[in-house]
Symmetry: C2
Subunit: 439 residues, 2 copies
């Protein structure tokens, strides 16, 4: 076991920077033929055989000894009991985190979620109404990487949006239930919960079974089987996004203690060997300091092995010409998490166009955002921040356009529609407009 972290050292002034930088960024979600075939079979079985297939796969893959599918439902009293069994400090942390996440998403709903309409001069009404989804499924990973914070981050925006029913699925390998996950479901207001996981859980939510209700959208992270299943049921139901490995990019001007920055880089690296931690800084001496702190702190970390592999394989410490160049490079990366470890974060923030979440100033460690600052921790990865957004209330709402054309409006609009419809060769469209014209 090697404990040395060897992040790539680069300078934008280097000949060959561009090629080395590109190579380090490269990551591709190779589709694994075996996974794809297994998921095809599982989804087909769940679609045609329902509960029976879900039970069968849950026994086989999770080693759960359930007599029937009903035994896989977690009822409200069990969720509450899990919450009550926690030490007070954990109960309080969960509740405070939930309250902050709720406040933030309530503000988000006010800012982005209202219906609107107006009437134009001829009395025609135009607008859009915003309504919540009826029922959503949230997928929560189980086993080793069971994250109660993910329960909060998926369920609370759905609840704030006004979703009628939130159905949680969480696998429990060998029947082991994580009390923090169950407690989080209690705190977040999950309506129903099942101890199922994998592609079979995604299938059950997408198609519905006798026991598991069919949902309108599925959100939440999962392994390769879950990701593949979500991609396949997309269209039949909505999905949030397909997440890649986690990423952090720190823009530093040298004003934040170097050990804080080193630990922030670790906090992504510890997720996964494929996670990516990058430092961009114009001050080479400061980059050296962070590098030294990495070497000093690494042996203390319980997940040192994963951190070392992640930093050595995908990490980079890059010296830039200045902060403006660092911002430009950050825009090319479009990172999931972007820390501005600067004494002037508001100077640089306007230059940053693409990021899932932007953490301003040295006190804003990414981990505060992961758990309890309030904003969502489900964020676009792998450069998808170029076109997508954090999970939010808007993911649990949809819009319907509203149009009410007045008799007067039908005269002017009808003539335009008629001309354009004839131009497209769609005569029924034209006639429908013309019929509303006064003779």
């Amino acid at each position: 076991m090697t404990l040395a972290a060897r992040p790539l050292r680069l300078s934008t002034a280097d000949v060959g920077f561009e090629a080395a930088f590109q190579a380090r960024l490269h990551w591709s979600a190779d589709t694994d033929t075996q996974v794809e075939q297994a998921v095809t079979d599982i989804l087909e079985a769940v679609r045609t055989r329902g509960d029976e297939a879900v039970l069968e796969y849950t026994r086989r893959f999770d080693g759960v000894q359930a007599g029937g599918i009903a035994a896989l439902e977690l009822k409200a009293p069990e969720l509450k009991a899990a919450f009550d069994s926690l030490p007070a400090v954990q109960r309080q942390a969960l509740e405070t985190a939930a309250q902050r996440v709720r406040s933030y998403h309530e503000a988000q709903k006010r800012a982005s979620g209202e219906s609107w309409s107006y009437r134009d001069a001829d009395g025609t009404l135009l607008g859009q109404k915003v309504t919540p989804l009826d029922r959503v499924g949230i997928y929560v990973p189980g086993g080793k990487a069971a994250y109660p914070s993910s329960v909060l981050m998926n369920a609370i925006p759905a609840q704030v949006a006004g979703v009628g029913e939130i159905v949680m699925v969480v696998p429990t390998p060998r029947g082991e239930k994580n009390p923090l996950v169950l407690a989080a479901a209690h705190v977040a207001g999950v309506h129903r919960a099942f101890t199922i996981g994998g592609a079979q859980a995604v299938g059950a939510l997408a198609y519905g079974t006798a026991t598991v209700p069919r949902v309108d959208k599925i959100t939440g992270p999962g392994n390769a089987y879950v990701a593949s299943a979500k991609r396949r049921v997309f269209g039949l139901v909505g999905i949030d996004m397909i997440a890649g490995p986690s990423e952090i990019l720190v823009l530093a001007d040298g004003s934040t203690p170097a050990d804080w920055v080193a630990m922030d880089l670790f906090s992504q690296a510890e997720h996964d060997e494929l996670a990516q931690s990058i430092l961009l800084c114009p001050d080479a001496a400061y980059v050296d300091q962070v590098h030294k702190e990495i070497d000093r702190l690494l042996p203390e970390m319980p997940r040192a092995d994963i951190i070392a592999k992640s930093l050595s394989g995908r990490g980079a410490l890059i010296v830039t010409k200045d902060m403006a160049e660092a911002c430009a490079i950050s825009n090319r990366i479009a990172p999931e998490h972007l820390e501005i470890a600067s004494s002037q974060p508001h100077r640089w923030e306007p230059l940053l166009k693409h990021a899932g979440a932007i953490f301003l100033g040295g006190f804003t460690s990414e981990s505060l955002g992961d758990y309890c600052a309030g904003p969502n921790h489900v964020l676009p990865t792998s450069s998808t921040a170029r076109f997508s957004s954090p999970l939010g209330v808007y993911d649990f709402q949809k819009r319907s356009s509203l149009i009410e054309v007045s008799e007067q409006g039908a005269q002017s609009l009808g003539r335009i529609a008629s001309v354009l419809a004839h131009g497209e060769g769609l005569q029924a469209h034209a006639r429908a407009a013309e019929m509303r014209l006064k003779p």
Copy 2:
């Protein structure tokens, strides 16, 4: 050739209504193995060989005799010339439609697109900033079904959102350019345009070639090859949605002239044999009238054959117990276009939860919405209005969370994050929070 339209007649009071209704609704986008394989090959060729492959496929599939890829670009003067060549009535119709679509989407942007932030009691700033996408691609079908209105409906919301560069692709089978499509691109403010189409155009936009710039998102309708290609590049770029056949559902209380309703049903049916037109009405005598108008008007229609096939294969005229039941059935269908052909549209509108666009009152023919009322005509089909929305300004924007934790905030938040991070076994997360605590 049969010219009889035989929509299924049902009553919710019938024994067997449920089964017949379900069977009529059923539609599944079967994936065609041959299409899938062809798209795999085309995308791979475009990804690896770029312009050369795009040119090759464009010659082969569109019969275009271009010497090189540069010849496939439509420059601004050509777009303007196409506009200038149109009859005045068409120029004016395009401009008025564009202006109305722009006004509506500007209102939409104000209603749903602003950045926001707030500071909590301990000085911590929380919010979200909204930014436009850098560059988008819009796919416009060519040949027989060339729809200039689709150019407006895709390009204008992108332009209102503030997208830096809008790249249009439109196939021109045998080199035939549709002047209305080119003119619409001129009016809508498209920045660059290429006469390419199919999976090769989607690939060029997603991967970028020496000539075609790589975009961040691809929107717009297309055939099975285009749909398959969009589905595959999803994740590398954003996509809008995968559209199924068009649908209209008319809720009628008998107050709208029966021939208007018949023509509105035709106006979806004429798109495609697989399009679906449904009438829900509590008044059996009125349903008979509409049926008679269908028979009377059908022979007059230039696209009578398509209309007849669509209505016979997928259309339905359903007598309901009352309007409330009709609304409940509509919610189960979640139609793309929903007309409330009633003298009291605002009485029923609040009961309607799922629809792409809602057309209120007898004067609001769906065709006015298709062309010029203002709202977008790119709408969720195949029940996806349960979880998705009309194409809009929000599709061309993305959000980044903003978090700036104050020194004081780092104390309270740090303690919570530490407890939860230890609970998840992520000690670097915990340490990053703890380092910010005052001793």
